[in-house]
Amino acid sequence: MGGVTQFIKELRDGDERAADRLLSAVYDELRRLAAGKLARERPGQTLQATALVHEAYLRLLGAEAGHWENSVHFFAAAAEAMRRILVDSARRKGRVKHGGGLHKRELDEADAIVMPDSIDLIALDEALEKLARRDKAKADLVILRYFAGLSVEQAGRVLGISRATADRHWTFARTWLYNEISKGDDPA
């Protein structure tokens, strides 16, 4: 423990490599928490993403939680980690589906996570990549909002933009992504 706050400190001191270490620590923690849920949870009970991310937040940052600058780095890392976990899992599940049949497969942590049927995470991820190439800030906003469960205002704070700007970015990015994904479905 203490690692995460250390990484954040290094990051704030300008050590870019700390970002990777932070991401990897948060990623591991989220997977570990999800695995814990998988093993411990009793039937009929669900848990929301926000709770998971914030559980990791309090666990990893301990007394440092609540310090504004730490939160910024943490949530940025957590959103990215959560995105990777979910998209990877969606890819694996997709492969299983394409393989057909009822092959038994190993359990993984993301099995504890239920995706809304209406959203194709893989397509979303591709569209996000595309958006990021054009406008990274907006893609980051979406990742914070969608994968870390932050509100638009909160995500805006992480990115250091005002609430109104965040709202405007959000409206645009969400519409853009929607348009991008539905182009795939709909040749018109």
Binding site: R42, Q48, A49, L107, E153, S162, T175, N179
Partner: protein
């Protein structure tokens, strides 16, 4: 960095979006994309997409769902498990899977086999099942599916074998068959009877919910069957306090059907009334299509928050809930399923059925129907158009909640410990206050009382005792005499003063050579302190007496045992019920052995034990003991003995709490007769029984006679105890509650003012006890007549009360914290509230959730989020809401909850949430900030909902004006604020002003062209 072109795309899109579709937008696009056809195509594509985007990405995706099958392979057809052969899978749920199976011996039949998921301790599950197997076998009811067997599969998973029921969940059946309200109730009745049957065999279901009540067809008639009896208990783990982080969902049962009692303990204390609650939820759902508590709220909530919701959230009445069904789809579905629309059903339900359902799902189980049969009987009465037992709960209930905050409380069940002491204290008090000094004759009389009580206490050692009593009496007399009349003149001499002098003397070693006398004196001191509600001091002396006696006389001496009883009585009064219980059980056992079952000491201990069980609500156990004790006393002491009469009164009181009204009335009336005849009207016992009878009549909705009784009790206690004695507040509070229930507004205010005055007088008496000072401080902070509130006066009083009490009582600390907060000293409020929480955690009958949530509020007002999160899950919830918005938008969670409340038409609560939010924001935001105006506007809408239109108008106009002035106000908020005004005037019946206002909105909307300015810092 965003590409320049992309930024341009966003800008044009954003501006175009703010324009009205059609002319404005087209004009704008033509000019903005004049030379860039690609840009225009893209913007138009996005504008089109925007219309369809819906809630895309608005809901975070991650939901952990532990109900998913996790790769455990299904049992294959033909496989054998024990004596059973699997035929096919018929169901699957969070618990595991259900199969149709064939039993081959001893009889060949089809059964249902339920295999529980891995992850449970199979051995324990089966052991728990075995423990209940015999009881389960005794159940024989057409509406109960028998549980036949249990065992473990080869892979170590527990399974249960049940009678095979081919049916669907009752809710599904009712909706698919489009049953009317009456048909639904008729189908519900046999379920109550089935549950009652199980209860009579000692089986509690613990997990009643629609999927455990299946409807199967028998001769073309629907027959409901309750399944899974005994399974929840066998598979359930006890609900325990987990740490903050691992505390997720170690939960037995389904939260929206779970009673607060079960959610809180989950363990051995759950009784049949937990099932009554679940039945209430089930019938609520059958009538309205929704459960009283929102399943989504509960699912999303962290563990502690979930328990808090279950414990505290007051659901809407069924008829009110029906009116909040929104969405055309939901409405149509409801109408199809019920053969009538929500408004029609709401009219059918309003009144009787509302009351019946709300009584079944009372948070406090003592206010529920005592049995499933009582619930069924009331529904049956409704169906036969007879008057029902349940009554409108709101007024009485709400006000009784208010009264409960006064720790003075109801003096039900306090009789035994207090009677003697009140006698002693009253004599002493009367003595001192009547004469302002002591008078030899009166002192002698007080002394006599002491001697008499002592003499009664130990008949067999009468002579020795008498000598000792003389010494004791002499000691106290000396103490009284030590108050110099010349010094006493001009100021009152308090009992407290005398006691403290006595303590000083003991400390000086005056009684060192006579430990037995010291023990007796300390007992008297302890009991007197207790009567004065100075509990910490009382405990010190009672414990010292107990220690001396145990050392001197041994643990089995009658005096030591009596000391045990006295100490346990104090522990009970201090709310340490478990400690009291174990000491009393030990003591009673020894007394039985040494003195016999019929000895008065044994009986007194048993009575005390019953009262200790009463404290935490174990009424049935308390009842059994009172009943047995009364039986013995009637035989040994006869009907006209004081102890017998007290027991009879206690039994009546506990019967009342258990809802056995008829029996309660018999005992109480008989006890009152005897009391008047034997002890005389002017006796505390008479007052207490009269008070309990009043409570019973109140419960039976005979409010007029209840009011009369409370008035008589009030007069009586004033006479016996004097107008300033704290105990006169009890009937006064009861009287107030009934006056509220009867809506006698004019009669209320004088009583409230009188109470304030009374509390002030008591508190201002020299030597007033902590309780009295606290009661006055509390009243100054919370009194329902706002003009009587006075936090500045309350603060030093609350502080004094805490000091006098030795800072042991959480409620007093909480009051002090409130006083700090109300006078603007938030730091001290937080520190004090933290101490209160610590004390509450250590024990006592405290509502910890309420203390916690207030602490969280204080911390949030200080923006100490991490502190808030550390306090509880409620704090964490607030952290999620606010952590990143700090400095920007405090109170967002309150706004959210106010919105939810407004949707449920709970305007009063919404308004108070918004007032809280406003208070927070006023502290955090600069004057004139648009968010303040926004909050005031929302508050205005909530106030309008309550019908206070004039007040609402003032708020809404203010808010609107403030927004107009502040150019940073987002246009959307401005529009909402204006629309609230329109809605107000419409509701108020002022269409002219409504349309005037609407015109203004339209006029304002037209010229707006710019993007809303940034509202951030």
């Amino acid at each position: 960095m965003a590409s320049v072109w992309h930024e341009k795309l966003e800008e044009v899109f954003s501006v175009a979006l703010a324009k009205r579709p059609g002319g404005d937008r087209t004009t704008y696009l033509s000019s903005a994309c004049a030379d860039d056809a690609e840009l225009r195509t893209q913007v138009e594509g996005l504008l089109g997409a925007h219309d369809r985007v819906g809630s895309f990405l608005d809901v975070p995706p991650v939901d952990f769902d532990a109900t998913r099958e996790r790769g455990e392979p299904p049992e294959s057809v033909g496989a054998r498990i024990g004596r059973y052969k699997i035929l096919q899978e018929i169901g699957e749920g969070g618990f595991g899977s259900v199969y149709m199976a064939e039993q081959q011996e001893p009889v060949r039949r089809k059964v249902a086999l339920k295999i529980i998921k891995l992850g449970m301790d199979t051995k324990q599950v089966i052991a728990r099942f075995e423990a209940e197997r015999q009881a389960l076998a005794l159940m024989d009811h057409a509406n109960i599916a028998a549980v036949l067997d249990a065992g473990a599969t080869d892979t170590g998973r527990p399974y249960f074998v049940m009678e095979l029921v081919k049916g669907v969940a009752i809710t599904e059946y009712c909706d698919k068959s489009a049953l009317t309200t009456r048909e639904r109730l008729e189908l519900f009745l046999p379920i109550c009877h089935a549950v009652q049957h199980a209860h009579q065999k000692g089986i509690i279901h613990r997990d009643l919910k629609p999927s455990n009540v299946l409807v199967t067809m028998h001769d073309e008639k629907p027959v409901p069957k309750v399944i899974d009896f005994g399974i929840a208990k066998a598979t359930g783990q006890r609900l325990t306090e987990k740490t903050l982080f691992t505390g997720f969902r170690e939960f037995l049962g389904t939260p929206q059907y779970m009673s607060p009692d079960q959610a809180d303990t989950g363990g051995p204390d759950v009784d049949t009334r937990a099932d009554v609650y679940s039945l209430g939820v089930l019938v609520y759902e059958l009538l309205t299509g929704t459960t009283p508590l929102d399943a989504e709220d509960l699912r999303g909530a962290p563990f502690e928050e979930m328990r808090r919701i279950i414990r505290e959230t007051e659901p809407a009445k069924p008829s009110a809930r029906l009116l909040t069904i929104t969405g055309t789809h939901d409405r149509a579905a409801f109408t199809r399923a019920h053969r009538a629309d929500g408004a029609t059903i709401a009219r059918q339900i309003r009144g009787d059925l509302d009351w019946i359902v709300m009584k079944a799902i009372e948070k406090d189980r003592t206010r529920r129907y005592a049995t499933a049969k009582d619930l069924a009987d009331d529904i049956d009465r409704h169906l036969r158009h007879e008057p029902v037992v349940a009554g409108p709960p709101s007024a009485v209930y709400n006000f009784s909640k208010f009264v409960r905050r006064h720790r003075v409380g109801v003096f039900v069940g306090s009789i035994t410990a207090v009677a003697l002491l009140v006698g002693l204290t009253v004599a002493t008090l009367g003595l001192i206050e009547a004469n302002r000094a002591r008078d030899a004759a009166e002192a002698a009389r007080a002394n006599e009382r002491v001697q008499r009580t002592r003499a009664e206490a130990g008949a067999d050692e009468a002579r020795q005792q008498a000598a000792k009593s003389a010494t004791v009496g002499g000691f106290l007399q000396e103490m009284l005499a030590s108050v110099d009349p010349s010094r006493a003149r001009g100021r009152e001499v308090s009992v407290r003063y005398i006691l403290d002098e006595a303590v000083k003397r003991i400390a000086e070693g005056t009684l060192a050579q006579q430990p037995e006398v010291e023990a007796t004196v300390r007992t008297t001191l302890g009991e007197t302190y207790q009567a004065l509600a100075l509990y910490a001091a009382a405990e010190e002396h009672l414990r010292a007496a107990q220690t001396i006696r145990s050392r001197l006389l041994g643990d089995e001496h009658p005096d030591t045992l009596r000391s045990n009883r006295a100490l346990a009585g104090l522990l009970r009064v201090r709310g340490r019920f478990a400690e009291a219980e174990s000491l009393l059980r030990r003591t009673a056992e020894t007394q039985r052995r040494i003195l016999g079952d019929d000895h008065p000491d044994t009986l007194t201990t048993m009575t005390e034990l019953a009262l200790a069980l009463w404290g935490p609500g174990r009424y049935a156990e308390a009842e059994a003991i009172h009943r047995q004790t009364l039986g013995t006393q009637l035989r040994v002491l006869g009907e006209e003995h004081g102890d017998t009469i007290e027991s009879m009164g206690n039994l009546g009181a506990v019967c009342r709490a258990l809802g056995k009204s008829a029996e309660a009335e018999t005992h109480l009336r008989r006890a009152l007769d005897l009391c008047m005849r034997v002890l005389g009207q002017e006796h505390p016992c008479t007052a207490e029984i009269m008070n309990n009878l009043g409570l019973l009549l109140e419960q039976q909705r005979d409010l007029e006679n209840a009011e009369n009784l409370f008035r008589r009790t009030y007069d009586l206690t004033r006479r016996i105890l004097g107008p300033d004695h704290p105990n006169t507040l009890i009937p006064m509070n009861n009287l107030l509650r009934v006056l509220h229930a009867r809506n006698e507004t004019n009669a209320i205010h004088p009583v409230v003012a009188e109470r304030m005055d009374h509390l002030r007088r008591i508190a201002e008496r020299p030597g007033a006890n902590a309780l009295a000072v606290h009661a006055y401080a509390w009243e100054l902070l919370h009194c329902e007549s706002g003009n009587l509130q006075d936090p500045r006066t309350a603060l030093p009083l609350a502080s004094r009360a805490v000091e006098m009490d030795g800072a042991t009582d959480a409620t007093m600390l909480e009051t002090l914290a409130t006083a700090f907060e109300r006078t603007g000293d938030l730091d001290s409020a937080i520190e004090t509230q933290r101490t209160a929480l610590e004390r509450a955690r250590a024990g006592g009958p405290y509502n910890r959730a309420a203390i916690e949530s207030k602490l969280v509020d204080y911390l949030l007002s200080k923006r100490d989020l991490i502190g808030a999160a550390g306090v509880s899950w409620a704090g964490l919830g607030a952290l999620l809401e606010d952590s990143l918005l700090i400095g920007q938008i405090p109170g967002a969670s309150l706004v959210t909850s106010a919105e939810a409340l407004t949707e449920q038409a709970r305007y009063d609560e919404a308004a108070s949430a918004l007032r809280g939010c406003l208070a927070m924001r006023q502290k955090a935001l600069p004057e004139g900030h648009w968010l303040l105006a926004d909050t005031i506007s929302r508050l205005g809408a909530a106030v309008a909902g309550t019908g206070a239109y004039a007040e609402a108008e003032a708020l809404l106009l203010d808010a609107h004006a403030a927004m107009e002035v502040n150019h940073r106000t987002p246009a959307e908020r401005k529009r909402q604020a204006a629309e609230r005004l329109v809605e107000l005037y419409e509701a108020w019946g002022k269409p002219d002003r409504a349309s005037e206002q609407r015109l203004r909105i339209n006029a304002a909307a037209a010229p707006s062209e710019s993007i809303p300015p940034d509202a951030g810092d």
